[in-house]
Symmetry: C2
Subunit: 337 residues, 2 copies
């Protein structure tokens, strides 16, 4: 059975959402969960559930990383944080992978340092799933692990993202595109032009450049970009969603008839909100580290935590890391030869 | 009276939306409009309005740039396009500024080559206004005129964007921020770290870094970034808006009670759509060229065209270009000294 170490202290609703998510995962999925956090707190929370007989363990971690801690401080000064302990469990083989909905920067830094990077990988990258208008998922990689990437690193992100997409979304030959500012090859900046040249020479199903407006139309499966661009894309999207849903709320409480309309359409709004809720897709894996790490959104609810555990377990089962090392070695060989 | 040359053949609804927008502007604003396009077509459209006595002229241009033309082809091969003629009217002093809702890349290229760049400006930049949750406007500069910008160019974008913001939105001391991937100064990439250093030394009201999610919260007035980043930000925002409004439409026609709810709340939805409609804000000026050029969205309706003409006229009246040259010269002097 796959074992996933879950940072029980990570998210905005920790440990409540984490523990409930772990119970759901242990009950519904074929997976063992190790809840990592301040043991007394975690056990107290666990006692609120009928968790007896479920494959759930607790591992003690005396420190908690705050959302406001800087990544490097969190890594250097809190050696017994729940993220550290979870990462050590993976390194020591006591868990196959880890999940955290904590401070993204701190989780990335800690996981990279404790687990290390795969042999063929230059820099690990964060892959974020986005829902599309077609009801499919498009993955953007990298969304923030790396800035000032080199063309060769963009190529590696593409290979890693494609392997992850195959493993989690079951597509045989995912369409891979490069995020740029125009579809024509000459558009873009120095980095995208050089990266496009490299990507064309791989065996990937590379379909060329896409623009920002194409992220949500479902025409491609994996969109590759530098981490600075990807992070801006991710955060802007979150910003627009917050902005629009806020305006909608104001509009729908502006008059009596608008309120009455809202009451009638409530179920439709619930479906709508579910569709724009990224947490349905199970968090963002940090690909390229020696082990499996999935980072959830800080506001993760129990269902999102369960989904992140499911994704982490599937990444372990489908031996994504072995494939990454093998396929990147082939790319490196092709580049030489 | 300020004279604005309007590319009558530019937008998706040209010349209908353009001509109606020109009539609205000539009627409501203190401005003369020169409609530039295929004369017979433009006059025929104009005859549909009661335009007699309004300050509207027509200038003939025999060619039309398509949305699919590449910028360089449009510039080199269609020397008598409506954009060329409009730009020449500005260069020859027959118009004070121009407005086009045409092919953005082609308009930028043509305008830059025909009008030239202001003495103190390295590269012109496109400034796009975004509506915020506070009901204010935040301007992002650059959204696509320049990629691979240098820190000094980012600094120039900031100065130009701030002058435009003062002129159009009436704020005395606009808050200027740098688009990055974290609020801490050390976050970001090489470019943003160097640009932040420069911006701190200016007399601008520089408030530091903002993240993508802050674009819509109204906490800052001008957000500066490289054109590749800004263009991705703009296009992603458009993509999210399309995606969400599409999902909302589907949700609200999914059942009888949802439909009934929509009917009741229709006015609220109309207000909501108006608030997320960027065209209310009058297009994006290309700052730093010798003359005034405002680029509207391809889908501009007559009201958006009128607003773009209003913005172009205000930029002329408030002598934005003189201010840009003067303030950038001061920045250059300070850097030397």
């Amino acid at each position: 059975m796959i074992t996933i170490a879950l940072d029980a202290m990570g998210g905005d609703n920790a440990p409540r959402a984490e523990v409930e998510g772990a119970v759901l995962a242990a009950r519904e999925l074929d997976v063992r969960v190790v809840l990592v956090g301040i043991e007394a707190t975690v056990r107290q929370e666990l006692a609120r559930h009928r968790a007896k007989g479920l494959p759930i363990d607790v591992a003690n971690a005396t420190e908690v990383i705050a959302m406001t801690d800087s990544p490097s401080q969190a890594f250097r000064r809190k050696k017994d944080s729940s993220v550290h302990v979870a990462a050590r469990l993976v390194r020591e083989g006591k868990a196959d992978g880890l999940v955290s909905a904590g401070n993204t920067g701190a989780v990335m830094t800690t996981v990279r340092f404790i687990l290390g990077t795969l042999a063929a990988v230059d820099r690990p990258a964060l892959a974020a799933p986005f829902p599309t208008s077609k009801g499919t998922v498009t993955v953007i990689i990298d969304v923030g692990a790396n800035v000032d990437s080199k063309p060769e690193q963009i190529e590696q992100f593409a290979v890693m993202g494609e392997i992850y997409y195959r493993a989690i979304f079951g597509t045989k030959r995912p369409r891979v595109a490069l995020l740029s500012i125009g579809e024509e090859e000459m558009k873009g900046n120095e980095l995208t032009r050089e990266a496009a040249n490299l990507l064309k020479q791989t065996t990937l199903n590379f379909t060329g450049n896409v623009e920002g407006r194409d992220v949500f139309n479902g025409d491609v499966d994996v969109i590759v970009c530098d981490g600075f661009i990807g992070n801006v894309a991710l955060k802007i999207s979150e910003g627009v969603v917050l902005h629009i849903t806020g305006l909608l709320k104001t509009a729908l409480t502006s008059s009596l008839s608008a309120k009455a309309g809202y009451v009638l359409a409530r179920k439709a709004f619930k479906d709508f909100r579910k569709k724009i809720d990224y947490s349905e897709y199970g968090g963002a894996p940090l690909l390229g580290v020696r082990g499996t790490a999935v980072i959830g959104h800080g506001s993760s609810n129990p269902n999102a935590i369960k989904n992140a555990i499911r994704v982490a377990a599937e990444l372990c089962r489908s031996k994504v890391n072995e494939k990454i090392d093998r396929e990147l070695a082939a790319v490196a060989l092709a580049a030489k030869g």
